[in-house]
């Protein structure tokens, strides 16, 4: 039988493959040429790009649904944990690395004894994965279908860009290439079983986002926005890398899932242990390395050694008189025990030697049974680093400003990438890593999330650009999810992720239709009265707005209610953190106000600018039905099987199943006291319809419920009262401040960009004056030396040579006179010479 995990691998790979296949059809490197493929091969050809993308995501969606039912069936079949997990996960070793360990006296170095560590590539399907797969594929399918129609003008060989005022080639195929690729990579991100792989996908979705924001590359604003998004995400990714590096160094694993393998003897037979195949741990997940496992593979519990299963085991290190390092379990020790697979695979329990003797670390050559530790603050730093990555991706304060600017992309992109899926990746990652986050980090997450939610809501109040308004709203909702994760509302955060994805995609797609039918005008002050021209869309978007604002029984209400209940419970249990409860409640009110304003100014009243709205007319076909599908999806998520009891909703139940065991413990650590109320508050949604007396007994949750609905009512009322007159638009210093996103860009500019530029200028100066000066001096000296040498050469060496030749020449000239050519003269001289020699001889002989 086929492994069910493979189903998911195929589902995730299909869009990627479709995207890669479409690269040929779109051929982005030829974009600048006029013989673009549509021109040469016809429009019909290019339409295949859209069909292929939709087909791939459609098949993925079907596979995911099959996978979901398969998974549920598996869970109900009551097999044991290993049998449940194993067909759903697989990994292959990818890179083998030497393990970095502490050698000798605590020196960090590569220890040759330590076994190598494998970086693995793999996938792992658990409940969270199945849920998110269904969500992502179905939302993506709706948006793909919408894009199939709304991007149609790109099919043409030549398109006129209204804003950039240039003609450019249509990029229909290119759009679906990146769109499809993006969806696939996003699915892979959810499917990946280790942090490194998640990081790869993380970067790839960032890259796709860059391409899609810069889709209208002729527009300066789009180019700038794409670069801004890329750079701000890089800032976050730096934190991600630091976090991964810390975890990798101290735990030696980035895996999210513990891999167990059947133990085999020398002959390759499975070793049996009491009728069951014996298993040994091949790779520990991050959670299992940092949180005490229930027992080792031999079934020996750790409880009796002072470590609590499922908790981080905090210890202090002492050194005994004999020099042996010893770890003592302490309430808030500075170190956290890092369990490793060798420890768990071997018996190291020695009952006769006392309670903590098992934690003795070998001073030298200690691998295997020795336990390692990670400083508690470093674990926190790793968490903060990873959260920084999520801040970048999920647009939390202070790296949030790229998201409103990212609205320069096409509307389906805003819907899919920048509200429903990619920005939710940060929430997903925090949810995944929840067990390794320490309470202090969770508190940081909570505060940043809650601040972001307030920030986004205030900015959305006054935005003129409809898409920017929705972007700030997205920011606000993402902040709410982050805040929920921070205080332990794990399943509610993911629940809100799902409902928000549907509703926000719906709103974006609706706005896309509105903008397209109004001559690409996005200014909310020039729209108005569109309910007559676009009645169905007005209704659909009213649904989206009310759902997001939290009208009871609509999808957003269930999740938002859960989150608010968690936050209020948290705040009421520890009054130090009461802000975490108050701010989201205020934000609920603001959300209702800006969504009312949004819907009212677009659809209600009378048209403010006739020239813009006269041509608007109702869209049918895919443009309508994809929106309806999103509504249905949102309702299916929350209403099945019964709209009045959230506990029984299939989606919430799945989420509760996938909730890490540590979620409740962490909340426990943060607030001093019982969290029974918190837990009950989280679980009991939809209590609105209960009798009032019962609500009063519900404590924080009931309070949150009442306050939220109250805030909603007041918000809608305020919004309607403020914007009921057609001419009213916010103005003044405060409005401008909010519209500019609290001038956050200016702050970033002042705090980071300008100093960096100054630093760069300083470095340029340093370069120019110091380094260039040194180089120039050297050049000058060298030239001086060369000149001196030239003189030496010219005058001494060349002079000698020249003089020699001259002297030789003169000698030749002088001597040639001897050769007169007169034979008789020679003879006379010869005769004279003979005579004189003779005479000489005679004289000498005498």
């Amino acid at each position: 039988m086929i492994d069910p995990g493979l189903l998911y691998l195929v589902a995730a790979s299909l869009p990627v493959l479709a995207g890669l296949a479409l690269v040929w059809l779109s051929r982005p490197w030829r974009h600048d040429h006029h013989d673009y493929d549509t021109a040469t091969r016809g429009e019909r050809h290019v339409r295949w790009a859209g069909y292929l993308a939709v087909a791939s995501i459609g098949i993925s969606a079907i596979l995911c649904l099959i996978g979901l039912f398969w998974y549920l069936q598996y869970q109900q079949s009551g097999r044991d944990h290993f049998q449940n997990v194993e067909p759903w996960a697989a990994s292959i070793p990818w890179l083998s690395l030497p393990r970095l360990g502490f050698e000798g006296k605590g020196n960090l170095g590569f220890s040759p004894d330590a076994p190598g560590v494998d970086l693995r590539l793999g996938y792992h399907v658990d409940t969270l994965t199945t849920v998110l797969f269904v969500l992502i594929t179905l939302v993506a399918l709706c948006i793909h279908l919408y894009a199939l129609r709304s991007m149609r003008r790109e099919v043409k060989a030549e398109v006129y860009d209204v804003l950039a005022k240039v003609h450019r080639p249509g990029r229909y195929a290119w759009f679906f290439t990146v769109f499809s690729f993006f969806t696939g990579v996003m699915l892979h991100l959810v499917l990946a079983d280790n942090l490194l792989q998640i990081f790869f996908c993380w970067e790839l979705v960032g890259l796709c986002s860059y391409f899609l924001i810069g889709f209208y590359q002729e527009q300066r604003i789009a180019r700038q926005a794409s670069i801004k998004a890329l750079i701000m995400n890089r800032v976050g990714d730096a934190g991600f890398l630091v976090g991964m590096a810390i975890l990798w160094t101290f735990t030696g694993t980035l895996s999210l899932v513990t891999v167990r393998q059947e133990e085999r003897d020398v002959l390759g037979n499975v070793v049996m242990d009491e009728g069951q195949p014996k298993r040994r741990i091949d790779q520990l997940s991050l959670t299992d390395t940092l949180r005490t496992p229930a027992s080792d593979t031999h079934g020996e519990a750790f409880e009796e050694k002072g470590a609590q299963a499922g908790q981080m085991c905090r210890v202090t290190a002492t050194r005994s008189a004999s020099g042996k390092a010893k770890l003592d379990v302490a309430e808030a020790g500075p170190l956290v025990v890092v369990w490793n697979q060798e420890t768990l695979n071997s018996h190291f329990h020695k009952p006769d030697r006392g309670r903590f003797d098992a934690f003795n670390t070998k001073a030298k050559g200690g691998h295997g049974k020795g336990l390692r530790t990670i400083p508690y603050w470093l674990l926190g730093l790793a968490g903060v680093g990873l959260f920084l990555g999520c801040i970048g991706k999920s647009a939390q304060v202070p790296l949030q400003t790229w998201l409103p600017d990212a609205m320069a992309g096409p509307t389906p992109v805003s819907a899919l990438v920048h509200s429903a899926t990619m920005v939710a990746a940060g929430v997903y990652l925090m949810a995944r890593l929840f067990p390794i986050l320490i309470p202090e980090v969770l508190l940081i997450i909570a505060y940043i999330g809650v601040f972001t939610t307030f920030y986004g809501a205030t900015c959305a109040l006054v935005q003129a650009d409809v898409k920017r308004l929705l972007a700030y709203s997205t920011l606000s909702q993402l902040g709410l999810m982050m805040g929920a994760i921070g205080v332990g509302g794990w399943s509610m955060a993911l629940f809100h992720l799902a409902t928000h994805a549907c509703c926000k995609a719906l709103l974006f797609l609706g706005v896309g239709t509105v903008v397209d039918s109004c001559n690409s005008v996005q200014d909310i002050r020039r729209l108005g009265g569109l309910r007559h021209q676009l009645p169905v869309h007005a209704g659909l978007m009213l649904f989206g707005c009310l759902s997001l604002a939290g009208l009871p029984l609509l999808p957003g209400w269930y999740s938002k209610d859960g989150i608010l209940a968690t936050l209020v419970s948290f705040g009421s249990l520890d009054l130090k953190h009461i802000l975490l409860a108050i701010v989201p409640l205020v934000t609920t009110l603001l959300t209702a106000v800006y969504l009312t304003r949004f819907w009212w100014l677009i659809f209600a009243g009378t048209p403010r600018d006739e020239s813009v709205t006269t041509n608007a007319h109702e869209q049918t076909g895919l443009l309508r039905w994809s929106l309806v599908a999103l509504v249905v999806l949102a309702l299916v998520i929350v209403w099945l099987p019964h709209p009045l009891s959230m506990e029984n909703s299939w989606f919430v139940r799945l989420l509760h199943q996938s909730e890490p065991a540590s979620v409740r413990d962490e909340s426990n650590l943060l607030i001093n006291g019982s969290n029974e109320q918190l837990v009950s508050g989280t679980f009991k949604g939809a209590s609105w319809l209960r009798p009032v007396s019962e609500i009063m007994h519900l404590g924080p949750h009931g309070l949150a419920n009442i306050l939220a609905v109250l805030a909603l009512g007041i918000g809608i009322g305020l919004g309607w009262w403020k914007y009921r007159l057609p001419s009213v638009t916010p103005d003044g210093a405060v409005a401008r401040f909010l519209e500019d996103g609290w001038r956050w860009d200016v702050v970033l500019q002042r705090c980071f960009v300008t100093p960096v530029k100054l630093l760069a200028q300083g470095l340029v100066m340093l370069d120019r004056w110091l380094w260039d000066g040194i180089v120039h001096a050297i050049v000058y000296l060298t030239m001086l030396l060369a000149r001196a040498e030239k003189q030496f050469d010219d005058h001494l060496i060349d002079g000698l040579v020249r003089q020699t030749s001259r002297a030789t020449h003169a000698a030749g000239l002088a001597l040639r006179r001897v050769q007169t050519g007169s034979v008789q003269l020679y003879l006379i001289l010869t005769a004279l010479a003979v005579i004189s020699i003779g005479a000489l001889i005679l004289m000498l002989l005498r």
Binding site: L815, R816, V818, Q819, G821, S822, V823, Q824, L827
Partner: protein
């Protein structure tokens, strides 16, 4: 008066000097050749005279003399050929004019 070796030697010397002078002063190439012949024959006469007055040298001297005569004949042949060639080139046998090989 008996004729002694000295007479021969004086005669040979006179002949030699005459030949030498002829060689040095004549501008006519033929004249120069004649001077050379005179000098060779002065040498030959010397050898003959030594052969006549010195018994141990008799045969050697005569053979040498004959060699000188042969040498003179060969030399004359070559020299005349040179002169003839020169005449063909310069229509003159004046050796004062034959100075083209000067430096």
């Amino acid at each position: 008066m008996t004729i002694t070796l000295v007479h021969y030697l004086v005669l040979a010397a006179i002949l030699f000097v005459a030949g030498l002078v002829c060689l040095l002063v004549k501008r006519n190439a033929i004249g120069v050749l004649i001077g050379v012949e005179l000098m060779l024959n002065a040498g030959g006469l010397n050898l003959a005279a030594f052969a006549r007055f010195n018994r141990s040298f008799e045969l050697d001297g005569q053979v040498f003399t004959i060699f000188v005569i042969v040498l003179a004949a060969a030399e004359a042949a070559i020299a005349l050929a040179i002169v003839l060639n020169y005449y063909n080139n310069a229509t003159s046998i004046d050796i004062e004019k034959a100075q083209e090989l000067q430096g």
